[in-house]
């Protein structure tokens, strides 16, 4: 599609300005991948509002050479997952904070910092860094992910060879109003190995994160993420996952607050009999600042007898906006695919809106795929029923909201972690008296 020349020029200018504002590390095992990513980005350019994939989300603040300011939010609540036995690795405004982090030794798990390990010429992550990202650029361009691969100064490289005894928790702290963080993590689950990765926190005024996950045959990966409560932060995150034969990939994200969040998840189901689930629960209140949340998911079935599920729920109030773009692509030969996708929003007032674009593209004949999208309000009849039994309006509303989110939360396998998420959701609802 040939866009008018003028807009191409503008795009190239914006891309050049964005690249000029970052430092692209050179040398080491990531050097070639970074140079290739930079070339990819220059070729595709940063996204524009006219791009089909950015119709519902304005990329201006993400594209800007300088990160827009975002006030640092402080809350006196205890840190999430605090009661879970885990290994914590802390980044403050995108910079690793060794003093605040745990000693990263865990049986069956190798953990290294990208900033340090990246200087080596030979590393297991060489086969992963920028590799899944590059694969994920087809058929839809993801320019901010290419930018990330080119410019990420730090991140964590995790290789799992056994069943990890406890989760690894990446904690992202936001410390300065102007921080602009780019982190790139690579994670390889070797055959039969298992890891739970936790992530939490707002990270920076503007955050660009890529997580590349390669789950080898029979591996199991669980991901539970709580995106921070800062009202003004902006974030674009990408997960690029490749799921091998008989492997399991499960990712759940809770988002509360944030001026702008775009979470892209690109999953390639590459081995037979694999399972990939991705879910999200987002809560936004426009009264505490703007709230725009975009879940963009692309699941490719490239093997037989695989199952994928996308379950995304959004609770929106006071002019909040929710976006869901989800696709299931079933490649030729991916027979017996079981693909499911649901995106739902609960609008607590008439000022909020939900924009959904569910898509199925199927090139195999023996598959079962379904998708659905709904927008609704609180069920007044159910609300009255609860109140007539003595449950006060606010509690009854919270109960109905949590029940709306239940299917997404059910994607968290570990009960303790699910409870932790539910308690945060309850607290959010209680604070807002919805």
């Amino acid at each position: 599609m040939a866009a008018p020349k003028r807009s191409d020029d503008l795009r190239a200018e914006a891309t050049a300005a964005r690249l000029a504002a970052v430092t692209v590390p050179t040398g080491g095992f990531t050097g070639a991948a970074r140079a290739a990513a930079r070339a990819r980005l220059e070729a595709m350019g940063l996204p524009g509002r006219r791009d089909e994939y950015w119709r519902y989300t304005d990329p201006t603040a993400l594209n800007a050479a300088e990160a827009p300011e975002a006030a640092v939010f402080t809350a006196e609540e205890s840190p999430i997952f605090g009661a879970v036995d885990r290994i914590t690795l802390v980044f403050s405004d995108g910079v690793f904070d060794a003093a605040a982090s745990d000693d990263p030794s865990l049986a069956g798990v190798e953990i290294a910092r990208l900033a340090e390990a990246g200087r080596a010429d030979i590393h297991w992550a060489k086969d992963l860094y920028g590799v899944l990202e590059a694969r994920g650029q087809e058929p839809v361009a993801r320019p901010h992910a290419a930018l990330n691969t080119a410019a990420a100064a730090d991140g964590i490289l995790i290789r799992v060879t056994g069943k990890a005894a406890k989760p690894v928790h990446l904690v992202y702290r936001h410390a300065s109003v102007q921080s602009d963080a780019i982190l790139h993590h690579c994670l390889r689950i070797e055959p039969g190995a298992e890891l739970t990765l936790l992530e939490s926190g707002p990270a920076a005024a503007r955050f660009n994160k890529v997580l590349e996950v390669d789950v080898a045959a029979g591996g199991r990966f669980h991901h539970i993420r709580a995106q921070g409560r800062d009202h003004e932060r902006r974030a674009i995150t990408h997960i690029f996952a490749r799921v091998g034969e008989g492997a399991l990939f499960k990712s759940f994200t809770m988002t509360a607050n944030g001026r702008m969040t775009r979470n892209e998840c690109v999953i390639e189901i590459a081995g037979n009999d694999a399972v990939a689930h991705v879910a999200g629960a987002a809560l936004g209140d426009g009264a505490s600042g703007a709230f725009h949340h975009d879940d963009t998911v692309f699941v490719t079935h490239a093997a037989e007898r695989c199952e994928s599920r996308q379950v995304f729920k959004k609770v929106l109030k006071n002019g909040a906006t929710g976006v869901f773009q989800g696709k299931i692509l079933v490649k030729p030969g991916a027979q017996k695919t079981d693909g499911y996708q649901i995106s739902q929003s609960l609008l607590l007032d008439e000022d909020s809106q939900f924009l959904a674009k569910p898509e199925l593209e199927i090139y195999a004949d023996d598959v079962k795929c379904s998708h659905g999208s709904t927008t609704g309000a609180i069920d007044e009849t159910a609300l009255f029923y609860l109140r007539s039994r003595g449950v006060p309006r606010e509690d009854a509303t919270s109960l109905l909201i949590l029940s709306f989110l239940a299917d997404a939360i059910a994607e968290i396998e570990d009960d303790r972690l699910a409870e932790e998420i539910v308690s945060r959701l309850e607290a959010w609802l209680a604070r807002r008296k919805v």
Partner: protein, 251 residues
Amino acid sequence: MLEIRNLQVKLQDEDKQILKGVDLTVEPGKVHAIMGPNGSGKSTLSYVLSGRDGYEVTGGSAHLDGADLLEMEPEDRAAAGLFLAFQYPVEIPGVGNMTFLRTALNAQRKARGEPEVSAGDFLKLVREKAKTLKIDAEMLKRPVNVGFSGGEKKRNEILQMAILEPTMCILDETDSGLDVDAMRLVADGVNALRSEGRGFLVITHYQRLLDHIRPDVVHIMADGRIIKTGGPDLALEVEKNGYADILAEAL
């Protein structure tokens, strides 16, 4: 305990008067039955008493133990002891029956300044009440009323009533949709709750239920008014002759 005086109610969004001056007093320990043709306003009365939106009170009053019901939020009416067994119990997907019951019980206790019931005591209480109503544990695990048969829903209403122990119970056609055995169970459930301090208002179309729950007073409602009040015999008369004579007499 329940005192309704000249209660007049119209629909909020329509110019339609539904209750045209209802007078009714239920004394503690008494069971009052209301019968009446379809559309006469029986459910409307029960909804207005429990505080459902969509109605506008244009005149009259309703008090429970001296408190002005019409000024209270639905949850406060419940905490004050009012309970409505719905003609059409509501399904709430995603909210477990046990969570629902426990949240309701503890919310009411909290509102009355009573301590919450512990998880253990609550479980015991529910098991005991469910057993007498022949509600199996599997049903309690499911979301509120979801996938329940019509009769199961009605029994679930009575279970809620047994657990919440309200002082003024309104039953709106709890008998419709029940098989003979279930009707017995529901009636037994009601009879078990009958006590000196508790009043009942039982809305029904059939004498069958009243055979089991012997009412003290029977009212006939037609076109938004109580047009006749009598003893248990009045229900038998309706059963035998229908409403025609009573309606004619009222004119």
